[in-house]
């Protein structure tokens, strides 16, 4: 058996676990660990410029692969800088293992230099956390951390490591722990068969059914099963913001995303439905609008791996706790076994009604405008240029995020990467970097705004160091678009601090890092410029695209209304 120091164990464990990249930033409490990393050849460390970006890089990788991303941050400010990224991962159930340095055990609690109670400060935003008390615990704790992060409903796990437990002079026996023992944690492996049968029978008898599928379908690798069930039963499908790509966006049974900025069709279908099959979605308030008015005639079948998500806001009539892939597979089997068809006649009427709603177009906008670039047009163009390539699209948070979600048609899971739960500005760019690093042959586009990009723009430097040729599509309207939209609609256009003065010349800025900048000011130039950007496979290209600041995201649900209460444009409402 090998003798290793605590620091060497951390590094060796990561290699044995199959981790290729860790994202991080060194500091005093972590120096033993970084020294062990220096000698390690198979594990690559990516030095970011800010710890928040390290967590988002790990997160982007995790969202694209389903495997936990790994982060190293030092004690104190390193740890606190990582908090936003941990919370982002927590809200969207993303597997992540964050290793934070801690001051030497004997100093803990003394307000030592760069000391912060990381376990305490992160407690509400982690799936679990560990404090290492002795070096010999490290392999087992790390094994548990990965298991907890990746299984059941995934989430971030923090391991706080006091500096002395990494002391290079003290060596202990190391073996990779193959098995995990956790008597108090046993994620459900399969759904209840009786409930599954009841659910299928209800679906088959439904007259106005709909499937609403969320991020759980992506995380649970259940897109194929979802698609099969939906096609078999000819059901309309609405993917939530986190579920985009779970069912093909270009398919005719897809009716757009539901909720605050959902399509008119999806929201009308939801409101008028008699059965909603909710799969791996959690009835977030951005989906439901006022829950007391939510879908008055719908019976709800809710499948989720997390029992606490079921009946949290919307009462489920048939709750099914279990992994979505398993439950959907079972449902398909029951459908086949019952050899009953869905309510054919009612479905024909239902689709007739749905197509009538759909005839308004899912997300209409003024396509003819050539004087000013409409943000929707940028996304449509991005889709045109990249739809036949293997493309990942990340986004930041704001209007551009909603336009991307509405207008880019995701046909595959894990290709749409955005911060849905926490709504973190600054997420998109580092997330794109994490994906590009792990999928060098794929195209990775970060759709952002001039507000969001400036929250982690320092990572242009990291991109230079590690040669990460992502494409940044910056919808630059010179204002904080979503804030301004709300100020227009709810604060009588009082634009309190929603404008950006003294913007940098982004083109020159990125050029100073050795990247390529392209400015676009005319709609007619856009497509060529975008093709040019994606043709440069080996260069980071930053497209600074001047877009219409007055454009709003529509539809927009009317506050405290039902699913069907929407603004359809600045003047038209349902």
């Amino acid at each position: 058996m090998e003798l290793l120091s605590g620091a060497e164990m951390v590094v060796r464990f990561l290699r044995d676990e199959g981790v290729k990249y860790v994202y991080g930033y060194p500091g005093g409490a972590l120096l033993h660990l970084y020294d062990a990393l220096f000698k390690e050849k198979e594990l690559t460390h990516i030095l970011v410029r800010h710890e928040q970006a390290a967590t988002h890089m790990a997160d982007g990788y995790a969202r694209a692969t389903g495997k936990a991303g790994v982060v190293f941050v030092t004690s104190g400010p390193g740890a606190t800088n990582a908090i936003t990224g941990i919370a982002t991962a927590f809200m969207d159930s993303i597997p992540m293992v964050v290793i934070s340095g801690q001051v030497t055990s004997s100093l803990i609690g003394s307000d030592a230099f760069q000391e912060v109670d990381m376990v305490g400060i992160s407690r509400p935003i982690v799936k679990h956390s560990f404090m290492v008390r002795h070096a010999s615990e490290i392999p087992e704790i790390m094994r548990k951390a990965f298991y907890i992060a990746e299984s059941g409903r995934p989430g971030p796990v923090v391991i706080d490591i006091p500096k002395d437990t990494c002391n290079p002079a003290e060596k202990f026996e190391y073996t990779f722990p193959e098995k995990v023992k956790l008597r108090s944690y046993n994620p459900v492996q399969r759904g209840h068969s009786g409930q599954i049968r009841k659910a299928v029978e209800l679906l088959l008898s439904a007259k106005r059914p709909i499937i609403c599928s969320g991020g759980g379908v992506i995380l649970g690798h259940a897109a194929a099963q979802l698609t099969e069930l939906a096609r078999r039963l000819k059901l309309p499908v609405s993917n939530t913001l986190m579920g985009l790509g779970g069912y093909p966006g270009s398919d005719k049974q897809f009716i757009g995303m539901p909720g605050m900025h959902g399509s008119y069709t999806a929201n009308m279908v939801m409101h008028h439905s008699d059965v909603i099959l909710a799969v791996g979605m959690r009835f977030d308030d951005r989906v439901t609008n006022d829950i007391s008015k939510f879908c008055p005639n719908a019976k709800i079948i809710h499948i989720d791996i997390d029992p606490a998500s079921i009946s949290k806001t919307i009462r489920a009539d048939i709750p099914i706790v279990g992994p979505v892939d398993n439950v959907l597979t079972e449902m398909i089997a029951v459908v086949n076994e019952l050899s009953k068809e869905a309510n054919e006649k009612a479905l024909i009427d239902w689709w007739k009604q749905i197509d009538e709603w759909r005839s308004k177009g899912l997300f209409p906008y003024d396509k003819e405008n050539e004087t000013i670039i409409k943000p929707e047009f940028v996304i449509d163009t991005l889709y045109e240029v990249t739809k036949d390539r293997d493309t990942y699209v990340t986004s930041d948070v704001g209007q551009h995020q909603m336009f991307a979600a509405q207008h880019y048609l995701f046909d595959k899971p894990n290709r749409w990467i955005n911060s849905g739960g926490l709504g973190t500005m600054g997420f998109g760019f580092p997330a794109a970097m994490g994906i590009k690093l792990n999928f060098p042959d794929a195209d990775v586009a970060c759709v952002t705004g001039e507000g969001s990009i400036q929250m982690n723009i320092q990572e242009l430097s990291t991109c230079l160091q590690y040669d990460l040729p992502v494409k940044v599509i910056c919808l630059n309207n010179g204002v904080l678009g979503m804030v301004r939209q709300w100020q227009d609609m709810q604060y009588n256009s009082r634009y309190s601090h929603s404008y950006m003065t003294s913007l940098p010349d982004f083109k020159k800025l990125v050029e100073s890092y050795g990247h390529v900048g392209i400015g676009v000011e005319k709609a007619t130039d856009l497509k060529d410029a975008m093709q040019e950007a994606f043709a440069m496979k080996d260069r980071l290209v930053f497209m600074d695209i001047k877009t219409d600041a007055s454009e709003h995201v529509y539809p927009m649900q009317i506050r405290d209304g039902s699913m069907r209460d929407m603004w359809l444009s600045k003047t038209e409402r349902t």
């Binding site: 376990v119 404090m131 108090s184 944690y185 606490a308």
Partner: protein, 164 residues
């Protein structure tokens, strides 16, 4: 309605803070909390009382179950159970009051565990309502100097057992 939730959790540093943190973080209230190790030193038993509608209690139990350290959980108030609180109360007792206080303590089957010329300390165990009653009664005949209550602890009746 008041609920008594009893749970077994890993006897590890930080486990209690996760349970307590869950309540404040999700805007639930803890009315009382008792916790100690069991006959198995790796396990702590925690009993807490909280108020809430059935939906809230459902969310509380689901979220407690999600905590990695929580091994098992039961809502004691859903079935027959025995619950107790321990009260230590210090009251003024001088002159004729002394025998009156003593009589009341006897009626409630409490014990006087400390005596000074002017004060008694009374120990009493029972259900929350019995303890409430006793405090009200003793307060009407004497001055209460100090009250210490443990909060509720409880166990299911008959064959029902919460164990690993």
């Amino acid at each position: 309605m008041r609920h008594i939730i009893s749970l077994l959790m890993e006897n590890e540093p930080g486990a209690l803070s996760r349970v307590v943190g869950l309540f404040s973080q999700r805007n639930y209230n803890i009315e009382s909390l008792t916790v100690a190790a069991t006959e198995d030193p790796t396990v702590s038993r925690l009993t807490l009382t909280t108020q809430g509608k059935p939906e809230v209690i459902e969310q509380i139990t689901k979220n407690l179950n999600k905590l990695i350290e929580v091994v098992k959980l039961v809502n004691l108030s859903e079935s027959e159970h025995i619950e107790r609180e321990l009260l230590l109360i210090k009251v003024k007792a001088t002159g004729a009051q002394r025998s009156e206080v003593k009589r009341t303590v006897d009626i409630f089957r409490g014990q006087i565990v400390d005596v000074t010329p002017n004060l008694y300390i009374v120990q009493l165990s029972g259900s929350t309502s019995k303890v409430d009653n006793f405090i009200a009664t003793i307060g009407s005949m004497s001055t209460i100097v100090e009250v210490v209550r443990t909060g509720v602890t409880g166990i299911s009746r008959a064959d029902k057992v919460l164990s690993i």
